[in-house]
Symmetry: C2
Subunit: 335 residues, 2 copies
DNA sequence: AGAACACATAGATAATTATCTATGACTATA
DNA sequence: TATAGTCATAGATAATTATCTATGTGTTCT
């Protein structure tokens, strides 16, 4: 038995407490005995028999290596060492208790940490969900990661975040996705765009325009391309710009038109306007994406619940709310 | 099995940590794993096998109810809960360590408490031992009880103190006594006493004098009486006074003569002087008295050692030092 | 791809712990 | 001085824990 080695090391210096055998149970029992001054009373309170408690005390005494209580006028009173031990017990037990409370909070999701990875476009709406959530759960600490679709896919592959937001969830069996919010894509032009007032505007009218596009990995671009393909249209002139914000500014300064999430336009409409192109807005939706195998931190779960409770109210997204509700169901079942 | 009841209470609220099974050993192992980031390394360091450590972690995980570590790039890293648990471990272990140190100090006698019961007369010399001891051992807290012989005997009977000092130790098998310091009894008279210069002064000369005596229980009185008896002398006139100090003052004011410990006269010689009566000083000695069955607090043991080391030096009491050394031997053997 | 390493799991066993019941000893109190 | 109450001890047993060895499963480095 290996324990021999270590015990030996301890035994040599003789007077050390045999700390390795010390359990919180013993301390609990001991503390109660000191408080009640009676072994029998403690036994009753803890649903034990009196000899059991006596023996626990004996064992604790052996662990400490010193008498810890004595009987005095019918009461059990701690010796000097016993008093120090009692203080220790109180101290240790209350600390363990604090930890236990922390665990509770952690499990309820009211405390802790989770990280969420957003594709660029989503950063315009997620704050509207995260803000109120953080307000309501100040002890929860959220990390928000933002990147373009490819970067987010990389993070996703490496399991780096707890929740992801994609327009087009990666196809993967080990993944759960819930479309929680519609993300209408609209065509935007500069403020004084000549197409603005045109009724029944079609893509045909715009084919001479230059279109400013996100990089090929981008979901917005992908959706737009798919639509162009299905409509059999090819753009005459395009230019690639890496950020939505840069695109908006470029559009405002008259460099061309663009397809953007309507949320972006709503968020910062300066210098641009939505054009009433037929067939638009293109429908698309953001999805919450979580990995099946990854145990979702309770705080992340709580966030999803929170979102589920506010989509209908704040965003009139009944479908989204239902989808998130279903996601939560599945997660709960798998826990 | 009774454990069922309590477990049930816990199980109902579900997420609580199973604190009763938590041992310090587990925390030690866990803390080491977190520090080293490796199960195998910890196993080696603690002279265990790798599976043993793995299983300890598993058990700890079950106790906590949450995953506490995960493997990440070959290292074991704590989860969020695991980090909190690690902090807890450190905290608890260091507290237990402090207690362990306290125990050491207590056992070495360098810290703690003991009480010593003195008969009145001894209070004139014991401070000369206790003072330096306290100075050298500031963490030791000594209670000194003082009373007349009868009062001390009562305390002794009730096991109220750790060490007693008597001139005449109570006869009791369960008692160890070491005569540590001589206590010469001398006859004293007022400063201008006519007997002061007389050569070959005998009791016969003094039989007309009034003698001021302590109460019958007193050792001083007892010794004096025994001497009177053996010399076949009966005193003409006596008066009983309860305290040595009061007797000294009474003698100084000419109320009579008295037999007192020479230490008292040495301590406060004002108004009195020793008379050169033949046969005096009467020999007597103070004894340290301890009960065999009572476990002497280490601090008390340390005090006796201290005394043993200073008697020869400070009091030229070689015999006393030997007697205390012997006492310590016996105590050590009985521990 | 193969070797080396790190961890997990299974199965076995010895040691320890947690309990109980029964009984004995001591101590107050009626 | 009975009597009741409190604690200690003994003896028995079930449960848990601490270990090991052997083996399996992934990573990581070459």
């Amino acid at each position: 038995m290996c324990s021999v080695y270590i015990n030996c090391l301890c035994e040599l210096s003789k007077q050390f407490m045999k700390i390795r055998q010390l359990t919180f149970r013993l301390l609990q029992v001991y503390a109660d005995v000191v408080r009640s001054g009676s072994i029998t009373a403690t036994a009753n309170r803890l649903y034990l028999t009196q000899p059991t408690v006596s023996q626990q005390l004996k064992r604790l005494r052996e662990i400490v290596g010193e008498p810890i209580v004595r009987q005095e006028e019918g009461r059990i009173v701690p010796t000097e060492v016993g008093q120090a031990l009692y203080q220790l017990s109180q101290d240790l037990l209350s600390r363990a208790d604090v930890f236990s409370q922390y665990l509770d909070e952690y499990n309820s999701g009211g405390r802790g940490h989770f990280s969420i990875g957003l594709v660029n476009t989503a950063q315009y709406v997620l704050p509207r969900l995260l803000g109120p959530f953080s307000q309501a759960n100040p002890q929860v600490d959220v990390t928000v990661e933002v990147g373009n679709r490819q970067q987010m896919l990389n993070r996703f592959e490496r399991h780096e975040d707890d929740i992801y937001v994609f327009s087009h969830p990666p196809i993967d069996d080990a993944v759960l996705a819930a479309p929680f919010l519609s993300n209408p894509l609209v065509v935007v032009g500069p403020e004084q765009c000549r197409w603005a007032g045109v009724e029944g505007l079609t893509m045909d009218d715009l084919k001479e325009e230059r279109f400013l596009l996100r990089e090929p990995g981008s979901a917005t671009r992908h959706t737009f391309n798919a639509w162009l393909d299905s409509a059999g249209i090819e753009l005459r002139s395009t230019q690639q710009i890496a950020s939505n914000e840069a695109i908006r500014l470029a559009v405002a300064s008259g460099m061309g038109l663009a397809v953007l999430s309507r949320h972006i336009v709503a968020d910062s409409p300066k210098g641009v306007q939505e054009l009433p192109l037929q067939g638009f807005p293109l429908k698309s939706r953001w999805h919450f994406v979580v990995r099946r195998e990854r145990r979702l931190p309770p705080a992340a779960y709580r966030f999803l619940s929170f979102v589920q409770g506010s989509l209908a109210r704040e965003f009139e997204e009944l479908e989204g709310e239902a989808a998130v509700a279903e996601l939560l169901q599945v997660l709960k079942a798998e826990r």
